[in-house]
């Protein structure tokens, strides 16, 4: 479904991705784990066209999207939930969700999806008239995920959804990610919480300083001694 081939992305003269290749198949949850600064977020931003790669290619469903502007990439079916959530603090919860549906014109479908998201996150329905900025961190993460789902993505990119959240909220959010995936949305998940990520993913890539150093089945990686010592805190 998504094929990233040998992308190199720079911030000025600093090479953040030194040739990253990875693949996501339809229906999967693929996770990208790694330490701070390994290039996980940059990989997602390169796929979304926010920081386009200097060389290499990103192909989605047979279309080369490497040089497309961000809004066109969203139109092809890839929506990102960015790190730090980046909800619109001055828009109401409902307006935030409607912005997710910006590219859609099917009123009935939008109304239906809105109800679906209120079903996934009942707290958002309760707070629908409140400004996004008044929500707690966990609620904002739910809003960011809900907003992205409103675009009816084929591929959902999630950047650190567990960041700064209480364990019980993380549990809840990961439950929803599994549910979304079961409903047919392909998921690419970037996480520092490798334990959580590997437990719900089908496949995983390990990123270190701009390179993919390991990849494979999520269960297998969980038992890999190198992964255990570096990312799971086991010796």
């Amino acid at each position: 479904m998504l094929k990233v081939e040998n992308i190199r992305t720079f911030y000025g003269n600093i090479e953040a991705l030194k040739g990253v290749s990875l693949e996501v198949n339809r229906g999967e949850i693929v996770t990208l784990i790694g330490a701070n600064g390994a290039g996980k977020s940059t990989t997602l931003m390169s796929i979304s066209g926010v920081t386009p790669p200097r060389t290499g290619s990103v192909v989605f469903e047979g279309r080369d999207i490497t040089r497309m502007p961000t809004d066109r990439i969203v139109a092809t079916g890839i929506t990102q939930v960015p790190e730090g959530r980046l909800i619109f603090p001055g828009l109401t919860v409902r307006e935030n969700l409607m912005m997710g549906a910006y590219l859609r014109n099917d009123k009935a479908g939008i109304a239906q999806d809105l109800e679906h998201i209120y079903g996934l996150f009942p707290i958002l329905k309760e707070r629908r008239a409140q400004h996004g900025g008044t929500l707690s961190g966990g609620e904002q993460q739910m809003l960011a995920i809900g907003r992205a789902l409103m675009s009816r993505p084929k591929l959902l990119l999630l950047d650190e959804p567990s960041l700064g959240l209480a364990p019980i909220v993380v549990e809840n959010i990961f439950g929803v990610i599994t549910k979304i995936n079961a409903e047919g949305v392909t998921v690419m998940l970037v996480e520092q919480n490798a334990q959580m990520a590997l437990s719900i993913a089908h496949r995983a890539y390990v990123l270190e300083t701009g390179h993919v150093t390991l990849s494979g089945d999520a269960r297998e990686l969980m038992n890999d001694p190198k992964v255990q010592s570096a990312y799971l805190g086991l010796d």
Partner: protein, 295 residues
């Protein structure tokens, strides 16, 4: 006397408000003080007058056409002058804006000459300068009544566009977080163009109304009006549209009262005094929010 000053102040105030929303909206989406906005206002007046004298159009169609021309001018200004500098340090587009202001002023001087011209009064409805209402000694002309009603309609319309439409919501979203807006599939440049379009056409209306009201127009008229509207936008809280509206009205009234009760020599000084006072005592303005610096 006081009432008459208030009415005159309000008339000017609503016009300042029309210009000020243009500053505030553009600042809201790209954090740029568009110093050439005053020149768009001036072009509005000249376009309208030209359509009347050269093409024999009646007043209202000429005004509508001038709005459209200024909307295009605003969009072109953004595309050619500001868009290439979107990722540049903020000083670069700011200086460019000042440059564009000077350029447009001089362009107008070449096209229309530098001397003040009267507005073609013959195209205006004859009753404009007749008194519409008199109450307790205060006179309100039809023209003033027209200025009030037109501005109020435009302001209500603008508010509806910003709060109720998808494009308006996208504009607010963009102002809050440009990257997130792009990640939702919003075409950032298109929304910025839309913002320039709206702000510029409102500026054009203001220019036309002022040149009709004072029966004069000249290529440098945008400078003074621009500074005052900018002060109004800052007073209201730059980036806030309701703030700009309120700021314009407050400034217009303050100016009229200052001119009436202190000295008419101080008329223009009031705007600067307000600007300085706001920056000293309430830098975020009446409706503005303090910008939180992200870690």
């Amino acid at each position: 006397m006081l009432e008459q000053q208030l009415i005159n102040g309000l008339t000017l105030g609503v016009i300042y408000a029309l210009i000020a929303v243009g500053y505030s909206m553009v600042y809201g989406v790209i954090e740029l003080i568009n110093f050439a906005h005053g020149e768009i206002y001036m072009f509005g007046a000249f376009f309208c007058a030209t359509f009347i004298t050269a093409f024999g159009l009646p007043f209202f169609p000429a005004m509508a056409l001038a709005m459209i021309c200024c909307a295009c001018l605003g969009v072109l200004l953004d595309i050619f002058a500001y868009r290439p500098l979107r990722r540049a340090p903020r000083l670069a587009p700011l200086i460019t804006a000042i440059g564009m202001s000077i350029f447009l002023q001089n362009l107008a001087m070449i096209v229309w000459g530098s001397r003040p011209k009267p507005f073609p009064q013959e195209a205006l409805p004859a009753f404009f300068h007749e008194t519409a209402l008199t109450f307790s000694g205060v006179q309100l002309s039809w023209l003033q009544l027209f200025i009030f009603s037109l501005t109020i309609v435009l302001m209500i319309g603008l508010n509806l566009v910003i709060t109720r439409t998808k494009t308006g919501t996208a504009m607010r979203a963009l102002a809050q977080n440009q990257r997130a807006a792009a990640l939702m599939g919003i075409n950032v440049n298109r929304i910025i163009s839309f913002t320039f379009m709206i702000g510029s056409s409102l500026g054009a209306v203001a220019g036309i109304l002022v040149s009709v009201f004072y029966n004069t127009m000249y290529p440098t008229m945008g400078y003074n009006a621009g500074v005052k509207a900018f002060a109004a936008a800052v007073l209201g809280g730059i980036g806030s549209v309701p703030g700009a509206m309120l700021g314009g009205i407050v400034l217009g009234v303050a100016e009229a009262l200052g001119a009436g009760y202190v000295s008419s020599l101080y008329r223009d000084g009031v705007a600067y005094a307000v600007l300085i006072a706001v920056i000293l005592f309430r830098p975020t303005g009446l409706f503005g929010k303090a910008v939180r610096q992200k870690a």
